[in-house]
Subunit: 333 residues, 2 copies
DNA sequence: TCTATATTGGAAAGCGCTTTCCATACACAT
DNA sequence: ATGTGTATGGAAAGCGCTTTCCAATATAGA
């Protein structure tokens, strides 16, 4: 990657390195216009491209923001990523992406790679776990100590910088609404309990059920993806011995889709034989049939808020982003 | 971002900078084990994190690979991104992501930002246009001249490094198969003609139709997304004055979904009144109803191949990745 | 024992920038 | 003519690392 350097440009323009730097890469001092013009012409002619690494080293700021997601191909995360990307552009920052899916240690690896690359901030999307990996925590603590900003999406408002998401409230609101529509029997398709997002939503479900004087007919734990929903729904159906009209509360849309598919594979149709709800209101699934009853979350906005929080020190921590209950055909409509 | 530096570690361990570097960050020379141990202990104790920027500057290689997509929230691109991410991890590379959606110049901006960050390679996913932006071309040319590798996904096998995708062949195979199933009337929901991917697929459709002695009943141009499909289907339906049993060939799955929604909004049901096909076989849409007749593309694999091509100089350019026709309910099943 | 040859740690020169500090030049007031 | 204050370009130090080159020591050969 040998390329035209600033000193090459300076020489070509017959000025010093310092002057060239001041002209091309912004500074409080602005050289005289005729000189500046000469430098710009030289840069253009030689095809100068500033070396961001060298700038980062000299300025000790990289203009990079790291984004950690579980699975970038999951529409939940990719929507968030879009928001982050969008906001980052406004700050003229580049996004370093890590999709940590398979391995347990990948999250830690990603954070330490980001620390190594001296990203100005790190955004953790929904990856915060209930029992935190101590290595990860230490890595993050050190990162913050060195001036890096860490923002989580969906953390509790107390724990450092976070874009709080009304997971519990949204889940509760959904149940309350369904109850008001006359539904009485519920089962919960819970994600892995160590995932905060999943846990908060389950908490919302159960507390609202309790408030309505109800108890979940079943709580099935499973993976946080389509296959998890598929399995969970089938196991749940078995556990309920084919009881009709039960509403399966999945902790996200992708699981809900899986659940509907799992039921269909058993010859159970939604919403005729069973009801299913999701959470997130993934755009790609808007046209799904039967249309999904869910809790709408402005995912892209979550990403944007996270990026704002990460990149703008003056940004106040936002109020919890509320979810909006959306009743569609898969339950209650 | 003041942090522990290598020279701090060296001092703490009582060795020179050179030795510390050799121990911690790999080199052809391996210092004696007792010394190495001392250095490692010092690094651990102080919490040393190597500065990737400084390393990049000294080594003139950043360990970064840039990925340019149109819209990271589009499942087509996010699946590819997942593949790229996955492969990059094997090479211990980090992925710099740019989602260029709205503005025209964003693609150019992204490439020049990547050039500035001295990414070792740039992967352009489906962004190659028929009438190339001369600025972009120049930027890419310069980048390559400086030793950067550029890989496109779905380019023609001639044009530089590319992971060729059998867009035309897949499209043709789909039509041929549908014809063999007895379908005779087709309309094409084409994407924007300047997009190579869209154009190649349309070409495949028309050539197969021609080979079967047929002509498209309509060709409707529109955006490459859900809304584009929605509009296109409605306009198409109008143009065909409600003719029944026509098969609408959308150039991708997301448009197909939009098309089905558009038709449904007109009270037209698929596959009873009209047929619709997609392209890509997006995983998130596998459970869609009616299930989508489409051409399966191993999207994640495309991303992986692209990353291999970008990061491994010995990697031979792969053969075109073929699409596999999948007949489901939305047409022909 | 003495020279020829590896082996090993360290000093120092960059990598491409930013930024502080200095020297010069110029404007103006005295 | 002298002094003061203010622009402005350039020299050079330094950001944190890698790597070449050197010197010193250890090993082998005769």
């Amino acid at each position: 990657m040998a390329a035209v350097t600033l000193s090459g440009v300076a020489r070509h323009a017959g000025v010093s390195l310092a002057t060239a730097s001041r002209v091309l890469n912004g500074s409080s001092r602005r050289p005289a216009e005729d000189i500046a013009e000469r430098v710009r012409a030289a840069a253009l002619e030689l095809g100068y491209v500033p070396n961001a690494q060298a700038q980062a080293l000299a300025r000790s700021s990289t203009g990079l923001v790291g984004l950690v997601v579980h699975d970038i191909s999951d529409p939940y995360f990719s929507s968030i990523a879009r928001g982050v990307q969008h906001a980052a552009r406004n700050y003229r920052r580049q996004v370093l992406l890590a999709s940590t899916d398979p391995s347990e240690s990948a999250e830690h690896d990603a954070v330490s790679a980001f620390a190594s690359h001296r990203t100005d901030a790190i955004i953790l999307a929904g990856s915060r776990r209930a029992k935190p990996d101590p290595d990860l925590e230490q890595e993050l603590a050190r990162y913050q100590q060195n001036g890096g900003r860490v923002v989580t999406i969906g953390g509790s408002p107390g724990s450092g910088l976070t874009v709080p998401v009304g997971n519990a409230d949204g889940a509760a609101a959904l149940v309350t609404r369904l109850v008001s529509l006359g539904i009485r029997r519920f089962a919960i398709l819970a994600g892995p309990p160590e995932l905060n997002t999943a846990r908060d939503r389950v908490k919302g479900f159960t507390s609202a059920l309790e408030a309505a004087g109800l108890e979940p007919a079943a709580v099935v734990v499973s993976a946080f993806n389509r296959e998890g929903g598929f399995d969970a729904a089938q196991r749940c159906w078995e556990e309920l011995q084919g009881e009709h009209g039960v509403c399966l509360l999945a902790v996200n849309d992708v699981m809900a889709i899986g659940a509907i598919a799992g039921l269909r594979a058993l010859g159970v149709s939604v919403p005729a034989d069973a009801l299913v709800t999701g959470f997130d209101d993934i755009p790609t699934l808007r046209d799904y049939f039967p249309s999904l009853t869910t809790v709408h979350l402005p995912l892209e906005q979550l990403g944007e808020e996270a990026a704002n929080l990460a990149l703008n020190p003056d940004q106040a921590q936002p109020d919890p982003i509320p979810g909006e209950v959306i009743i569609r055909e898969s339950a209650g409509a």
